[in-house]
């Protein structure tokens, strides 16, 4: 405990706690979509905390710019990848766990493997 510096250690501790929470959520949640919720949001917050602590500890300009670039890229791509995984899973007939009917589906039932996807290439 002799080298405790709060400016570095508190964001790193908070960030690693959120990363562990996200891992427990990914392991314990019952559904792909709720697991996506846990992984995308909590991992963004946890990695932001750890990058902030690292940038406050490594005071060189090179380290700061690289960490800022990684953090910006994480903020841009983590929601995108979660959106892509959820879209592909829903269009390829992975039914979500719901308590009622699927209100987003025009067919009134979960998409089945024989159904046509709404568009041929939804990403294009």
């Amino acid at each position: 405990m002799n080298d405790f510096s709060p400016l570095r250690d508190i964001p790193i501790l908070i960030g690693s706690f959120f990363v562990l929470t996200a891992a427990v959520g990914v392991l314990r949640f019952p559904d792909l979509y709720s697991r996506l919720h846990a992984s995308s949001k909590l991992v963004t917050l946890g990695s932001a905390g750890i990058f902030l602590g690292a940038a406050l500890e490594l005071t060189e300009a090179a380290a700061f710019t690289r960490l800022a670039a990684i953090l910006l890229f994480q903020f841009l791509t983590t929601p995108l990848s979660a959106y892509l995984i959820a879209q592909a899973a829903y269009l390829r007939a992975l039914p979500p766990r719901l308590s009622g009917p699927d209100e987003w589906n025009q067919l009134g039932r979960h998409p089945q493997p024989g159904d046509e996807p709404p568009r041929e290439d939804p990403t294009g």
Binding site: I12, A22, A23, A62, A63, R66, I70, Q74, S81, L94
Partner: protein
């Protein structure tokens, strides 16, 4: 001290997500867990950079963040349309 604790915590979360990769009932769980694993590896590399003061490792973390997103996009495109490129 706190850095070692953070390394242990992030490694533990990596092992938990690796269990999800092995168990994952569908391919969507596996893609999501691989995405999570790439982010976890970036966080581990940043923590080791703070511990050892080797700033070269941050370039590896930057490249790994680009590659992880590219892998997710390629896998989801392949599973949705049957091919990666047009």
């Amino acid at each position: 001290m706190i850095l070692n604790l953070a390394l242990v915590i992030v490694t533990l979360s990596t092992l938990l997500v690796a269990a999800r990769v092995l168990r994952g009932p569908s391919w969507g769980d596996r893609i999501m867990a691989f995405d999570f694993l790439s982010v976890n590896l970036i966080v581990l590399i940043v923590l080791i950079t703070v511990k050892t003061r080797l700033l070269v490792l941050l370039d590896a973390a930057l490249v790994l963040s680009l590659l992880g997103f590219l892998t997710t996009v390629a896998l989801t495109r392949y599973l949705l349309t049957g091919r990666v490129m047009r």
